[in-house]
């Protein structure tokens, strides 16, 4: 469920505030939803990755890749679509990291035995 919380929460928080609020959402998700460390990491990756992936793919298709093809060369990328995996990867890694950090925070507050389900 953490991934879904991040997906919805991250969408709302970044619509209202700066991009890095999604990091806080992912930390909170890791803290609230009991799981394993590995699961927390994956849920964080999927939550942010899915949100950013859906957004970028939708924008790319609706814009015919026009802007991405113009932006990609600035970052020495050969083609506009590559900005999609680049964006998703950065977002997902950060999401996984943040969610795991939240999970660890929970473990430091509650005993390890109560943090698994």
């Amino acid at each position: 469920m953490a991934w879904f919380f991040i997906y919805i929460g991250g969408m709302i928080s970044t619509l209202l505030g700066p991009w890095w609020t999604i990091v806080i959402v992912a930390i909170v998700a890791g803290f609230l939803f009991p799981s394993s460390a590995r699961s927390a990491f994956w849920q964080g990756m999927i939550g942010v990755g899915l949100l950013w992936g859906m957004s970028t793919i939708t924008i790319y298709l609706k814009n015919d890749g026009l802007l991405m093809d113009r932006v990609a060369p600035i970052f020495f990328l050969p083609d506009g679509w590559i900005l999609i995996p680049v964006t998703v990867l950065i977002g997902a890694l950060l999401g996984g990291l943040a969610c795991t950090a939240g999970w660890n925070l929970r473990r430091s507050v509650w005993s390890p035995s109560s943090s698994t389900s």
Binding site: T87, A101, L105, R107
Partner: protein
């Protein structure tokens, strides 16, 4: 233990977030930039932009804005305030970043955005008096009722748009450079006008001219840098009579100062700021109505310097191109008249050599040591402390560089002050406010009384059948040759003695030849009683336009469009036959001979698929270099005779010592052909590869520009396209019972690289197509402004 692990995970996350949220050098903050919700992705236009919208805002009465299929806004308002409010709002919606960035650049404030690397540029802007000039403009705006109110209303409109923006909605360039929009103000409009004035009239060849005279003397200068070159057809026909009593001309001083420079020689930069305009009288047109055409040449940029709009109030509508940041239509037409501009090709700037003492706090003038006025400029620098710079002013104008300072622009040396008409200009754009409302030639003439700078050849036609060209601007009253070389700043004879009264400015109205035309060439012939400088554009475009127009009968608008696209190579017409007759064919190999054959058969036009223009232009450039390299020293900052005067020398006297020197002319011609031909790649010999036409983004980002365009033209053709300089706007308007106009500019209405409207006009422009630009009547509304 677990706490420590948790802390490390949180810290790691925080550090990565911080890194992704921070900009390093010119790399934007990656997280901020890539975030699909707020970052650059947000700038991709994913749905039609100009859809129905009602905006509650500061207008007094409802305003409706209708967009046509070209995304041109047609603004219908009931009063001036609402009209300019809406104009400001709508332009900002498409062009905010361009307006904001250009005015910051003009004001010498780029260091705020780009950091220390822009510092020398910023200093140069301030040293050359941009701040003072813009404040002079501002004072004039503020004290002018109607026009001041228009500028203020425009600012309100831009600000209403800025206030409606969320950070994620700002143009992509803000996100790339990491800064934010700042509020608009009349001062920013003043900087915009100042910027344009500088682009068009801030240049001088006085330093290189002085150095060259130092070396070769007056006879050489008068021969190769003539006041009035042979073959010139002035803008105001040579037989024009002047119906006024001129003011006394100031007398020239006996001694003239010399100047020298140690700057290394660089290729003479050809600014190529040229333009064409003409108007054909009804007596020569098929319909019997006047037809006007204009294509001003500027550096072609994306976003374009122009934005098409129609501005309508009850009783009148003006349509044409506007400058983002400035109210009104600048070039275009209304229901009664049409107008266009070309730059007056001469210099509006004099350079004064000064004698300074006491750390430049005093300068010698008229036998006395006079104090300089010091003005402090504070430059904010991103990521570094403020830089305080002091600009020293004399009564001439600012001292650009003081002793020991390294010039950013080589045309100013240390210890020189500049006087420029742009510093004292007040409200040239009030002229456009009035022309937008003009109904007749008299209205047009009345509007010109406000125009001071940059000097323009304004062409005019109306539905009554009048055609005219006026030199608009304020011209200093000078003795012949004043300012041609570096002036002696201590000698009052070099001060500007006053101004030529504007009613004495040259003009021609319905001349006998049935048309008026200008292409930046000489304004007048030597019979005009005042001295109007010497350094005009070559006669090439002007002569071709006059020749073509003279040959036309029953002119229709499409003839004008075709003339705008005319690619005749005047230099080739003049000199190619001589070169072909001179070259020693016995020295050429078979492929060189084949090249020569294609040149013989060439139609002398700079058309994109031909190889003739490529071979000729390279050959001519090599020959020009070959001739003058032998005459001029290897190092030093000098002015070389231009193509036109070199060709004249060849035509007049091919035995001249300058052409022959150590090497006979025929050998030079042959050698120049062989060396230039050798460098040509047969695969890319078609002219368009070498013309290298493109429209570039203001920041020079390759992928935001057009890349090389498949286009025709050349800097000396009527179709004056050359690299990224060329026709920035084309208009053809027939003034019949109604005004039927067509036009185009190389760009698109949107300034957003993520929009399909960003460069959608460019290919049609390169092909020479024009879009119909009807004056739209009120009806329907895309965007409606309603009062709060």
């Amino acid at each position: 233990m677990q706490r420590r692990i948790a802390f490390l995970w949180i810290a790691g996350t925080a550090i990565l977030t911080w890194v992704l949220n921070t900009s390093f050098g010119s790399i934007p903050a990656i997280g901020t930039f890539l975030d699909p919700i707020n970052g650059f992705w947000r700038n991709a236009e994913t749905k039609p932009f100009n859809t129905e919208l009602t905006l509650r805002s500061g207008v007094r009465e409802p305003v409706s804005v209708v967009f046509d299929s070209l995304d041109i806004p047609h603004i219908f308002a009931t009063n001036d305030y609402d009209l300019y409010f809406a104009q400001g709002y709508i332009v900002a919606r498409d062009r905010l970043w361009q307006m904001d960035f250009s005015t910051r650049a003009a004001a010498g404030r780029l260091s705020e955005i780009l950091g220390p690397r822009a510092l020398e540029y910023d200093k140069y802007q301030r040293r050359t008096g941009m701040t003072d000039g813009a404040h002079t403009f501002l004072q004039a705006f503020l004290t002018d009722g109607d026009y001041g109110a228009a500028v203020a209303a425009y600012a309100d409109g831009v600000n209403a748009y800025i206030l409606s923006l969320k950070p994620r909605d700002v143009p992509i360039e803000y996100k790339l450079l990491g800064f934010e929009p700042e509020p608009w103000s009349p001062l920013k409009t003043a900087y915009m006008v100042m910027n344009l004035t500088r682009t068009l009239s801030f240049s001088s060849s006085a330093v290189s001219m002085s150095n060259t005279r130092n070396l070769f003397g007056d006879e050489f200068m008068d021969h190769f840098f003539p006041y009035y070159p042979k073959g010139t057809e002035p803008i105001i026909p040579a037989d024009t009579r002047w119906n006024f009593t001129p003011l006394p001309i100031p007398s020239a001083p006996d001694s003239r100062p010399m100047s020298s420079s140690a700057s290394p020689i660089l290729p003479e930069k050809d600014h190529g700021i040229g333009s064409n305009n003409w108007a054909v009288h009804g007596s020569r047109t098929k319909s019997g109505h006047a037809i006007l055409a204009n294509d001003p040449h500027l550096d072609l940029t994306l976003p374009s310097i122009w934005y098409l709009s129609q501005l309508s109030l009850p009783g009148h509508s003006a349509k044409g191109v506007t400058f983002p940041g400035v109210p009104d239509v600048v070039l275009g037409f209304n229901e009664h008249v049409a107008w266009g501009a070309t730059n007056v090709g001469n210099s509006a700037l004099d350079v004064y050599a000064l004698q300074l003492r006491n750390d430049a706090t005093e300068y010698l003038h008229d036998g006395q040591w006079k104090p300089t006025t010091l003005k402090t400029e504070t430059i904010h620098v991103k990521g570094a402390p403020d830089v305080i710079d002091t600009v020293y002013y004399t009564h001439h104008g600012p001292i650009v560089y003081r002793e020991g300072e390294k010039p950013y622009e080589r045309r100013f040396e240390s210890g020189q002050a500049i006087r420029w008409t742009g510093f004292t200009a007040e409200k040239p754009f009030k002229t456009f406010y009035l022309i937008n409302r003009a109904k007749s030639y008299d209205d047009f003439k009345a509007a010109l009384t406000y125009f001071d700078s940059p000097p323009q050849n304004l062409v005019f036609a109306d539905r009554n059948g009048d055609v005219a060209i006026h030199l608009a601007g304020q011209f200093p009253l000078k003795w012949k040759g004043q300012g041609r070389y570096v002036s002696d700043g201590s000698d009052p004879n070099y001060d500007w003695a006053g101004w030529i009264p504007k009613e004495h400015n040259p003009f021609t109205h319905n001349p006998a030849r049935g048309f008026v035309s200008s292409a930046n060439q000489h304004s007048v012939d030597p019979n005009y009683p005042y001295y109007l400088e010497w350094d005009y554009a070559p006669f090439t475009r002007g002569n071709v336009i006059n020749e073509e127009l003279s040959a036309m009968t029953a002119v229709v608008p499409d003839d004008m469009r075709r003339l705008q696209m005319n690619t005749r190579n005047r230099y080739a017409e003049l000199v190619l036959d001589v070169l072909l007759a001179t070259i020693d064919r016995s020295q050429l190999n078979p492929s060189e001979l084949a090249g020569l054959d294609s040149l013989s058969n060439w139609n002398r036009r700079n058309d994109r698929d031909l190889v003739g223009p490529t071979i000729f232009s390279k050959w001519w450039a090599a020959l020009h270099l070959n001739i003058w390299t032998d005459v001029y020293p290897e190092r030093g900052y000098f002015k070389r005779p231009n193509d036109q005067n070199t060709i004249q020398l060849i035509l007049d006297d091919s035995n001249s010592q300058y052409l022959n020197g150590d090497t006979p002319f025929a050998d030079r011609v042959t050698a120049a052909y062989r060396t230039s031909f050798e460098k040509l790649d047969p695969e890319t010999m078609a002219w368009w590869h070498h013309l290298n036409a493109s429209v570039d983004h203001i920041l020079g980002l390759d992928s935001f520009g057009t890349g090389r365009l498949y286009a025709s033209g050349d800097k000396q053709s009527v179709l004056a396209l050359n690299g990224s300089n060329g026709p920035s706007w084309r208009l053809v308007a027939e003034l019949g019972d109604s005004v039927v106009a067509r036009g185009i500019y190389p760009g698109g209405q949107s300034g957003n690289p993520g929009s399909p409207r960003y460069m959608n006009f460019v290919l049609d422009w390169a092909e020479g197509r024009l879009y119909p630009l009807p004056i739209m009547k009120k009806g329907g509304s895309t965007i409606t402004f309603i009062p709060n």
